[in-house]
Assembly symmetry: C2
Homo-oligomer: 217 residues x 2
Amino acid sequence: MNSEFPKIDCTVDVVIVAYQEEALKIGLIRRHDEPYQGQWALPGGYVHAQEDRNTLDSAKRVLLSKVGLKANYLEQLYSFSGLERDPRGFSISVTYLALLSSQEAQDSELELRWFDAKEVKDLRLAFDHNEIVQVALERMKAKAYYTELPAFFLPEEFTLGQLQKAYETVSGQVMDKHTFRRHLKSLDVLEKVWGQLYQPQGTGSRPAQVYRLKTPA
Amino acid sequence: MNSEFPKIDCTVDVVIVAYQEEALKIGLIRRHDEPYQGQWALPGGYVHAQEDRNTLDSAKRVLLSKVGLKANYLEQLYSFSGLERDPRGFSISVTYLALLSSQEAQDSELELRWFDAKEVKDLRLAFDHNEIVQVALERMKAKAYYTELPAFFLPEEFTLGQLQKAYETVSGQVMDKHTFRRHLKSLDVLEKVWGQLYQPQGTGSRPAQVYRLKTPA
DNA sequence: ACAATAGTGTCTGTTAGACACTATGCC
DNA sequence: GGCATAGTGTCTAACAGACACTATTGT
């Protein structure tokens, strides 16, 4: 009964973002095949209806197969569709935002290459991937104001100083230290790590309290 | 080359919301065919790759064909996918939120029936449509706090009193009159209608300034 | 005059930003 | 001591909520 209207090519594309050297990095791959052969593109792939339980699973599979890792945070962004976005014909792409901590990002060899988020605007990505990246950056910026999203760029345990840097990088503006801490306290998403109360760093300065995200339990 | 992975059934489903008698109403249709024959469902349909430029067009087509009207506001909500949501197999539904002014909603005959938004929870809608409605209600509530979304429920020209009622209905809580007006002034999305400065109503009370949304020009 | 809604003034408690100050480690 | 970062106190300006008061219509 569904035969009256043809089925459609469905893909997922994942905007993989990491945080390294106090900057946002976006993971891109070079396309092997036409169309857009040789151009930089978001990692993506067809939705496997036999294998994936849903498109979130597809995104996880893309991450694992094309990048070799699991994301710290994975959220559906938006769905792009149309005749023009792929020369092969009408397609739908369900896009996802994946955040990695810097350590995880290190481990990704494979074909992924990291670009500074500010440089990506100047690249001519395949398909409508420039637009998708733009949506991802805006979503992150918005969520930096009212959620703990930037914390997913950090390792499991971190200090408030590191966290503030992550927030500032995502939102693109510096924040007052005290204001930041008040805001985070009101979010009520962190818990102190009572064990080793300090975090010795290479530099000589006062050790800091270590925090982690509260377990969503 | 796409033949290695089967294409997928893609649909759009539209949560059509109107504002009547100071309550939110959701437009549902009774399914003619299996699956879920006879149950209430969101208006929707297959994406026509030959005919629609993209899924936004599909949503407009569904609105026009199944309901016979254009929405005052139309926004992509979220995409639902999976094997379980439709017994016929793996499918993807790109969902949209459509807002109608009460006048427009009147005109819809056809098969659409209006349900109070609070009653819809208790209905057992087809597919995962209960979940979709839930997402729509939450999205509207969130946007009532920082956008002019509730204004799209009203006719082109309206008073601040009517607008406040719309905001209160969407957000589910009463607001102070002065606070509301300050907030809206800061949004800077309204303009006075200078022509007939007042709006005579049936009841005897002070006439009000008439406003409209600023043209997005 | 009275009912009903429109529109504004004012007070107050809360919050965000700015900035200074103290604390604690390493060299 | 000096430097670097952590952590906190305090003042102030901005803002939101509560509430009262005036304004303008119809009956």
